[in-house]
Structures are given as structure tokens and as C-alpha cells.
Subunit: 191 residues, 2 copies
Amino acid sequence: MTGIQAQFRAHIEQQVTLTNEEFDFLYTHFTEKKFHKHQYLVQEGNYVSHDYYIAQGLAKSSSTDDTGKEHILQFAMGDAWITDLQAFQLGTKATLDINCLEDTIALMITLENREKLCSDLGKMEKFFRKKTTEESINLQRRILCLISNNARDRYEDLLEKYPGILQRVSKAMIASYLGVSRETLSRLALT
Amino acid sequence: MTGIQAQFRAHIEQQVTLTNEEFDFLYTHFTEKKFHKHQYLVQEGNYVSHDYYIAQGLAKSSSTDDTGKEHILQFAMGDAWITDLQAFQLGTKATLDINCLEDTIALMITLENREKLCSDLGKMEKFFRKKTTEESINLQRRILCLISNNARDRYEDLLEKYPGILQRVSKAMIASYLGVSRETLSRLALT
């Protein structure tokens, strides 16, 4: 078993326990791929072929508004999933860009393979239900921080969710994720 | 079969097809309950016993900040689920209040019963995975509207997601859901 396989198995076993046979079977549904820094996983306007488990490296998803300003929805550091969920799930065109901020190793799965895997192995249906529920909890917390306009909580949530992120991405990206100006971010970082 | 049961079955069958026996079995895991307008389903600081399918009526979830201002996370009109997801899932104390804005009929399920049901009937594992994925897509869209500070898109998303909501809740609540002032809301409603 490679290091990536061992890491992925540990990731899944946070939710469900697997036999060796079950892991070997589920792993056949994924493709391992290396991406270079700056390479795109998803491009706005294209169809979205895969959901990506980021094993190593760092990717971000973002949308660009009519004025050309970028808004960051998500970072995915090691051990996290990322895709344009709406486009992937519904078969529509991407409204997000997802690109790598570092050299990245991902495990990719198509929608067809994911649905097949969930049907054939109930434990993976459970795994994806649990992961998606965790994701919804995180998204709800972020929304509450956004509508209550509490930039301090958002900043602390970011540091908790993405340990070490400040050393890996630019201040402009942090501000874009938080939905605040660079000036507000400087104030938050000082206090 | 009562009207509520038929509605609930149709709701589940949007995702998975059921036999009569399967529906009868899954329904035994839920409790039907009526709530009066103003009654609370969840109170901040208490443990959260159930996830609620709102069959009829209208409930909202919100958090109140240190200054006493209410921020609305979600409305649940007929055919929608609502709970303090984090507290329900993790067994922690609620950080949200959920109360009824109209007389409401809900089907309630405990965490224990939901997990048991998912284990015993794979179709329900699939149902909850699909519903949670839909919910994540909606939450991601709302976050993008919030960080891009696009109140117009948020307003249109609200009208699309909750048809007829303007006739059922106060303007103050709409503003609180959107995270905008009453003045901004008035401008949005006019244009």
C-alpha cells in the first residue's frame, strides 16, 4: 500500500471501518493524479467530471464576479474534498474555478463511479452521508458568521479550519475568503 | 394513509423508490407532532433531541448575537428539514433557536433512530446523503452571494427557494435572513 493509499484509508476509516478487501474494491473507483501549481481542476463554463480528494498540496475554489473580483468559496488542504458540487451533481456547467496553489496529488472519482460505489458498498454511502453532513455544519457556521457580519469569528474559524493557511496563501486570498477588505484583514491579524 | 404520510412518502420518493412495506417500516421511526405558532422546537443552550421534517406550517432557525440582534439561518416551509445540525449531530448544546412562525405539523426523528434506520434500510442512507448534498449546494450558493456582497442575488435566491415567503414573514425577518438593513431591503424590493 502506498502512502497516499494509507492516508486515504485512514480518512475513510474516520467514519466507517473497512476490511482490506473493501478498501481494495473501493480504491479501484478512484484515479490518482498529480497536478502542478497553477493547474486547474475545474474551469468555469466547463462540465465537471470529478469530485477530488486532495491528498497532498492545496487547491482553492472561487468565483469571479462581473467586475473581475475573485471570491473564494473554499480551500482544500491535505485530507479534504473539493469540486464544483452543484455542477458535478447536476451535470451543469461549472460556475467556479478550482486551481492548485501548490503541487497537488488528488484522488478523483466520477459521479457515475461514486453512485455505483455507494450502491455496491453501503459503507461508502454512509461515509459520503457523514462527510456531507460535516460539510453542511461547516457551511452553516460560516453563513452565520457572514450574516452577523462578525469578521473576527470568521477569521478565527478560518485559522481553526485551515491550520497553517496564513503561511501558504497570500493575504489577498485570505481577505477574499473572508469577504473583507485588505485593511480589515490587517486589523484582524493585529489584534 | 393520512395526508401527511402521503406527502412524506412523495418527499422521500423524490430521491428513492419505496415499497409499501419499506415506507411503513421507515415511518415507525418518526413521531408526528403539532406545534403552535411561537412554540420552540429547539432552544439555545439545550440539547437537541430531534431532526424535524416540516410537513405543514413554517419554522425558522436563528442565532442571537451579544447585542441582542437576531440572525436568521434558515426558514423551513412545508416539505423541508430543520434542526440545529451541529448540536443534533455532535450531541452538543444548541447555539440556535428554532421556533414556529405559524401552526406547524412536523415529523420528528431522533439521532439514534435515524442512524438505526440508515443501517437497516440502505435506501434511507441514500435518501439522507442526497438531501444533505442538495443542502450543501444551497449553502455554498448562499455563501458565494454573501462574500461577493451581492444583496440582489441573495434576494432573488430567497424568493426562488421560498416561494410566497414575503406574504408569510415580516420584512425584519427577511432583512435578517439576507444580512442587510431594512433600508437596503426596501431598495431591493422596489427594483
